[in-house]
């Protein structure tokens, strides 16, 4: 039989993961500019399970799929929302993480809640779940402006500069960024009433063997409590439930 991706990875001895590195705490760089974060550890775990070494390939949000499609990476461990539209193109695993969405505002804008963003200039990272939802919301409100930036860093930079009044991001990112103290004058002001953003690993759509393996891996991470361990290490607090009530997957 023909060797599939899973065989290729094992044979090559290297697992190449697409990871977004300006998305703390999921992916970021330490003082030596080396990649660290939840997704980085997750990729390392996966590589260990496969018995190969891991290679982290930094991909900004908009470049995740091109990187996969061009064969530059084997798997995306990149906090990627599993939308149906995207699933027409790539193959998603079961969710490996779930985000709540939080609103972070510039203190000068006087925004206290999600609704308070109406009429303001808001932004998010281009190509993310929250960006797509927020842009739709702004259109519905019919006032204010939506701006997508290329990276999470640019979003928070714009927010702290006052170019944006508020942003919606995953609550983990929001907390992590506010905590660094790099961005003076911003605070988390509330939750965004979006559906829970389930994110999944992804690979080529027709690599059933690999997807099958990844599904089991995600499941094993939870069973062995490694998921909880990593969550505590990078995020902290209440562990999000990765299952959906009344559904199988």
């Amino acid at each position: 039989a023909q060797a599939d991706k899973l065989d290729d990875i094992i044979a090559s001895g290297t697992l190449r993961c697409a990871v977004v590195l300006d998305f703390p705490p999921m992916g970021m760089r330490d003082a030596n500019n080396e990649p660290v974060g939840f997704d980085v550890d997750y990729c390392n775990d996966l590589a260990a399970a496969l018995g190969v070494s891991a290679e982290i390939v930094e991909t900004p949000f908009p470049e995740r799929i091109p990187a996969l499609m061009s064969g530059r990476v084997d798997v995306g461990v990149a906090s990627t929302s599993d939308t149906l539209e995207r699933a027409k193109t790539v193959g998603f695993t079961i969710p490996y993480f779930a985000f709540e969405m939080a609103v972070t505002a510039n203190d000068g804008a006087g925004i206290a809640s999600y609704e308070g963003m109406k009429g303001h200039t808001v932004g998010a990272v281009a190509g993310t779940y929250e960006a797509i939802a927020l842009e739709k919301q702004v259109q519905e409100w019919g006032e204010g402006e939506f701006r997508p930036y290329q990276t999470q860093a640019d979003v928070f930079l714009a927010l702290s500069q006052g170019q944006l009044d508020a942003t919606v991001s995953t609550s983990t990112v929001a907390m992590a960024n506010v905590k660094t103290g790099n961005f003076p004058g911003i605070s988390v002001v509330g939750k965004a009433p979006f559906d829970t953003d389930y994110v999944a690993l992804f690979t080529s759509r027709n690599e059933y063997g690999l997807i099958n393996y990844l599904n089991l891996f995600v499941n094993q991470q939870i069973r062995t409590d490694r998921y909880a361990e990593l969550y505590e290490k990078w995020v902290g607090g209440e562990l999000p439930d990765l299952t959906v009530p009344n559904a199988y997957r």
Binding site: N33, T59, P66, A67, S70, T151, A153, N182
Partner: protein
């Protein structure tokens, strides 16, 4: 004036990015120039009609944003042809072709500037086409083309800032990575900009000097 958290390690990181910028530029300009000379010579030698397809293809590289060229080449080579190529390879490939498209025009202009009678004189002495090209046309065309070529090389260096889309961490990307961590956009951007300026400016001036000198005789 600047109170910065920038460490020497970070400066090394920037220097690495700068090294990548220079490497990508050097490879692309080298290959692109070689190709550009070939394309330019072919265009002059075989005339507009015969080389129309080549002209059309080269024209595309000058009419579509480099960003899109990179994304498309990346997607096409990887997704469609299923080639396992590094981002570095794709970046160099696209930039080389991009360079060659501009270079072909410059070469064509240079060759056209060599008077036909000078070439006839060479052939009349029994020189072959290749000898005429090598000893007469190329040295003369170089004088006409070199200033524009320097401009092109510098342009490619600046445009190489876009290869971040194929996961190559060059100077501007390194700067952005540090901005992400350190949140000192203005200071870091100034450093990045200054670096480009320091490479580009002296060379650009040199090009201008050559132009002035050679336009006199």
């Amino acid at each position: 004036m600047f109170d910065t958290a920038l460490t020497t390690a970070d400066l090394m990181f920037l220097a690495k990015g700068a090294g990548m910028t220079i490497l990508v530029t050097a490879i692309s300009v080298a290959i692109g120039t070689a190709l550009g000379i070939a394309f330019g010579v072919i265009r002059v030698q075989f005339g507009a009609a015969l080389t129309a397809p080549l002209t059309f293809v080269l024209d595309i590289f000058r009419s579509v944003p480099l960003l899109i060229q990179l994304v498309l080449a990346n997607a096409f080579l990887g997704m469609v042809l299923k080639l396992q190529l590094s981002g570095f390879f794709v970046a160099c490939m696209v930039l080389s072709l991009y360079t060659s498209a501009y270079c072909a025009e410059i070469v064509r202009g240079g060759i056209d500037a060599v008077p036909a009678t000078t070439r006839r004189a060479a052939r009349s002495l029994g020189m072959s086409w290749g000898q005429d090209m090598r000893y007469i046309v190329m040295p003369l065309a170089t004088r006409v083309a070199l200033p524009s070529w320097i401009g092109l090389a510098l342009g490619v260096m600046k445009d190489s800032a876009l290869v971040y889309v194929v996961q190559v961490t060059e100077l501007l990307k390194s700067t952005q990575i540090l901005i992400t961590r350190l949140q000192e956009p203005l200071f870091l951007l100034m450093i990045g900009g200054a670096f480009y300026f320091l490479i580009s400016f002296p060379l650009a001036r040199f090009g201008g000097y050559l132009e002035k000198r050679w336009s006199n005789d």
